[in-house]
Symmetry: D2
Subunit: 377 residues, 4 copies
């Protein structure tokens, strides 16, 4: 097996997300880090890329240079990760897809629904991979839940409750804290604060596990910290295509919750609960039996859950390896051509449509609105 | 200290609630069980009362007989508990209040808002106690949370999230199971299923801890089990008088949740979380510090929390003694005349108003409605 | 059903244990509090007893007066609880048994093995009940575990691990704190500190659940706080009559552990874990299956577990009602004559023998010693 | 930064430990996998190495060939990991050290104390790194505990309790299950079963966190499954050089425990608890305060804890990245020459001495024995 060639745009020195992707791509020895345009400052980006072992002529100053440079090579990168500021995702992803590259885009894939539809069209036309980094979907036990729902082990799903609520913006020091402030400023964050930042992870997770999509929703947004224009606490009620009832709460002022992503799924014959802070267990309640603790690595799990776990039962695996699992699946598809189970441009588009629908609903005091992208109606 | 005289209506042989009240009233030696009309069947009620040690002439056949009998006595009961089927609470409570008795009524206090307002008026006119058994409010650590909020330790409260969701009606065997079926039948349960049964406990708990009341709300109801007319899964968004954002989820199909009452309160400078299945701990997060585990019985708790705890730190106290704490407070007020901190007819009325508001909102796809009883607007 | 008549010696104003017994005896309406000698100070004891509703002529000044007074009555008490300082348990228990009273004695039943054997002889000769308040054995889920072991559901038991370790004496302020100091002073506490105070609870719990007795043991004692003569941290390895391996750790300096009693039982086909701080759940692992969470109140529990639970599944019941369950069983035997399942003088004696054996072993650097009372060898 | 060159002996196709080391070495991009002798079967080893991207001429048939091959190169590997069967660790590690290679040896480093002393001498003479893979010591929160103990935040440490008990050998199917059988067979496993396999991890963890070493110990071994010669359940009491009391329980029949490594440390002014199944939290109790939940990634942690964490607070990191942290520290020392904080040959030797001391003590019914290697006495 030769390693695939991988490049990254963004994720420069000091970023949080850059190391996560570098570890994700390299942990399993599947990709070699071959090219990068890592920083908004071309010189810093070139220097940092070389410090990470990238050859000088593939340590690019910006994404345009990288696009041109890689297009010109026979050994062009097999995959590029886009980890730049949110409002540049659309332009870069589109350009690389059109040039025939496979792309893993950080979330949110775009800022608008229209852009999202455009990416879907471009990706389909290109025949290339356009993946979106909804990495929570790659935890082994999330795959296990998806497999169980798909197999009908819980019966028809009645209700799903997904939360992504933390307390890391509770200080209310927006004025002095630019890392927080921009998230509630429409000029920088777009139409939505926490719903666009975290809520979409929870919503994607619900859709992913259920194998079902949000059809309509009603939202209640609040800006609980004085001065915030965008919401820092939101509740979204929804219904899926198959009629499942959905509840989604997302907040940034929930002191006491550290990461705060969790999901509960309730079907006719069983229910389960999973939380990102304890990702290797699922609490599973079969109707008429006791609650059982399912463990990552236990015998009898689904193929997907087994394939994405690296160590034995009760040896915990965490967030960085969930990101790595996205790369495992990308490599699998790149190497075999057979489709793997990672989130795609369609998922990225649906998220954007749901965010915009939430904003529209909240603006009208919770009126129910269609949450689907126009092209999927 | 002489014991207070206590009587009960309802709670006959085989009922779940009767033993809880008998234990609650007697556990601390504050009340003697002096009179009762315990069963819809007069003969069974008289026999059962005597088997529990009640004198023959105070083992009544029905509540009217008990009312007449007790009124005629010099040593009439100091308190009567009404634990009959829901739709009789109004009539009995009203009659005893008007006759000058102190009453502890099981929830729901009434079936309609109008009845609730009538009870409030009658109770006020009588000068007697009309308490409602929102027993979760009497857990020591619930009192602790209330005291901390009142003292401003969490700052202004931004958001409260209260859930009361369990899975005990998930089987969907309503047709064969009359104990479940009636709860979703408007002819027996009234306008609401789970919201009226459990949701109001969570709503009262939120109001109690916050020292604030629900002003308006928007509800999303679902009947997830085929054939159910009334809701078995509901989400209510609300705002309090002081502007706190509220989220309340209540369900009966949430497999994996056993009791399922929990609450999270998020203020400017702190947040906490409490769950009824682990009632002796509060997870408390002060801004900028670590999450701390507060323990019932620890040094430095509020007077209310200390007063209502019977054993040392980490010796768990559970549900029956929370009910007993309602009786402790009733005895305190009866003995001293000074007001104690139990839920009253006003709380019972507010609950009914909120239930009816939820039903109205849900019927109009979540339109926001005033949740206050007309007499409190 | 008429109430049984109950009296108490010790447990005066300000004691921790007195209220626990009063609640335990009265919670279920089984006993009326008829007589008491509650305080070392006769006047205070008489006054306090009357304040609790005891008739003046049964509010005694000391236990000798109470013994004489009750012996002379036709309506003598049916049960007396001995809750005096440890070194008086033997004398009082013996005297009441010899006079034909049923006794519930606080632990430790005696200070020496010889005294323990004497109590066993006297109790047997009297034909009366001599119970010892190992109240943890009366939790519903402890009874459940015992029933499952007895039924062979776990197969032969290989190992039991019981801990009773807390951190409440970690401050090391013995010099200024008499409530702590006496426990490490042989003149007041006897031969053992924490092993006699808490370790015996864990040891009894292990024996009770296993239905098996300690045969031999090896102990390692430490006095980790400077100045303590008696042990504040002890490890005891043991073997039962049936060959089960036992491990028991008990400590008073274990900061972070609040109550700290827990037990794990490992058999050929299953294992479980129970902790006193979460007494309504058992984590049960059947060989080849997942860990399951057993819940007090769930369907299908043993008769003993069901009988001793008062409220529905997931409504927690705590320590005071475990004490009450001892009284429930005492009342059952007193009313029916049929033997119930409470700890007896034999258990109290075995505990004393084990404590003394531990002390002897620790003094000889862990030599294995016979842990059985001479009369049971 | 250029990558360091890394090689591995053992860890062939299908092994559990091989992937853990490959991920550990490569996750952070610090090492390139340059050479390997991966399998006892030379042909399989060569083929597997090449399938993992190793050049043909560095895909060796056995360790002797690899030693010769690498010695002859200018670009010889910077580090070799020894992950072969236990009884070959000594020979291979010694040979590579003597040839001037840096070595990371899997545990146990040797089978005997004499071999352990020899490795220490050879390592010292070589001036090269000889590390042992006690990977639990590399969890961020384990480093945090060590830093806090070293800084005196808990005061003098009174007692440490370390367990490594799981239930994965409870089936008792040794006869049919060779993966279990060999562990209890002295011919293959040596003098000890579970103490040598898992107990030493817990013992190392205790020593590592305390910065203190075991001086003497007393052991109680049991073979609870019929037919096992070596122990499957062991208790070791010990004392450290500084007088801390130690308790260590290790078992393979503890059904209900999945991974089962945990540690509790109790000092004069604080105590904490950490468990490998939830490795990102420490429960910390400062005397006179509440239990606090420390979180990996929180502000204010020690440099060591911060340095070894890759993602933000509450994003879990698990076992594979703890192994990776060993490589992070090895790379740090290799690159800078400054000593880093990984377990060394001295630790490997001490473990062997403690295992042999435990065996000797257990054989003499728990007599206390010196646990130190002769060369450190």
């Amino acid at each position: 097996m030769t390693k695939l060639r991988w490049g990254m745009i963004g994720g420069g020195e000091g970023s949080q997300i850059g190391p996560a992707h570098r570890l994700g791509a390299q942990a399993d020895g599947l990709f070699s880090f071959a090219a990068g345009a890592l920083d908004a400052n071309p010189e810093k980006g070139r220097a940092y890329a070389q410090s990470l072992g990238i050859a000088k002529n593939r340590a690019y100053g910006d994404w345009q240079e990288m696009l041109a440079g890689e297009q010109a090579r026979d050994d062009r990168i097999d995959l590029v990760t886009v980890a730049t500021p949110n409002n540049s995702h659309f332009e870069i992803t589109k350009a690389f897809l059109e040039a025939g590259f496979n792309v893993l885009c950080e979330k949110p894939m775009t800022m608008t629904v229209e852009e999202g539809e455009e990416i879907v069209r471009v990706a389909r036309a290109s025949g290339k991979i356009c993946a979106v980094n909804y990495c929570y979907s790659a935890y082994p036990m999330v795959r296990q839940m998806k497999a169980m729902v798909a197999a009908g082990e819980l019966g028809r799903i009645r209700t799903v409750v997904a939360n992504f609520s933390h307390g890391h913006h509770a200080a209310g020091d927006d004025a002095e804290n630019p890392r927080v402030r921009w998230r509630y400023d429409p000029a920088q964050a777009g139409v939505s604060g926490q719903m666009a930042d975290c809520g979409i992870h929870a919503l994607h997770l619900a859709s992913f596990i259920l194998g079902d999509e949000v059809r309509e929703l009603s939202a209640d947004f609040a800006s609980t910290v004085a001065g915030r224009v965008l919401e820092d606490d939101a509740m979204v009620n929804f219904r899926t295509e198959r009629g499942t009832v959905g509840r989604l709460w997302t907040s940034t002022i929930a002191l006491g919750r550290q990461h705060g992503l969790d999901i509960q799924v309730f079907g006719e014959t069983g229910g389960f609960r999973w939380a990102s802070e304890q990702p290797n267990q699922v609490y599973y309640h079969r109707l008429g039996r006791r609650v059982e603790i399912m463990e990552k690595g236990e015998a009898g799990l689904s193929d997907e859950a087994s394939r994405l776990s690296r160590v034995a039962i009760a040896h915990p695996e965490g967030f960085p390896l969930a990101v790595a699992n996205i790369y495992v699946d990308l490599a699998a598809q790149l190497n075999s051509g057979a489709p793997a189970n990672f989130p795609t441009a369609e998922d990225g588009l649906r998220s954007m449509a749901a965010v915009h629908a939430s904003v529209a609903s909240a603006a009208e005091r919770g009126v129910w609105v269609d949450a689907r992208p126009p092209m999927f109606r």
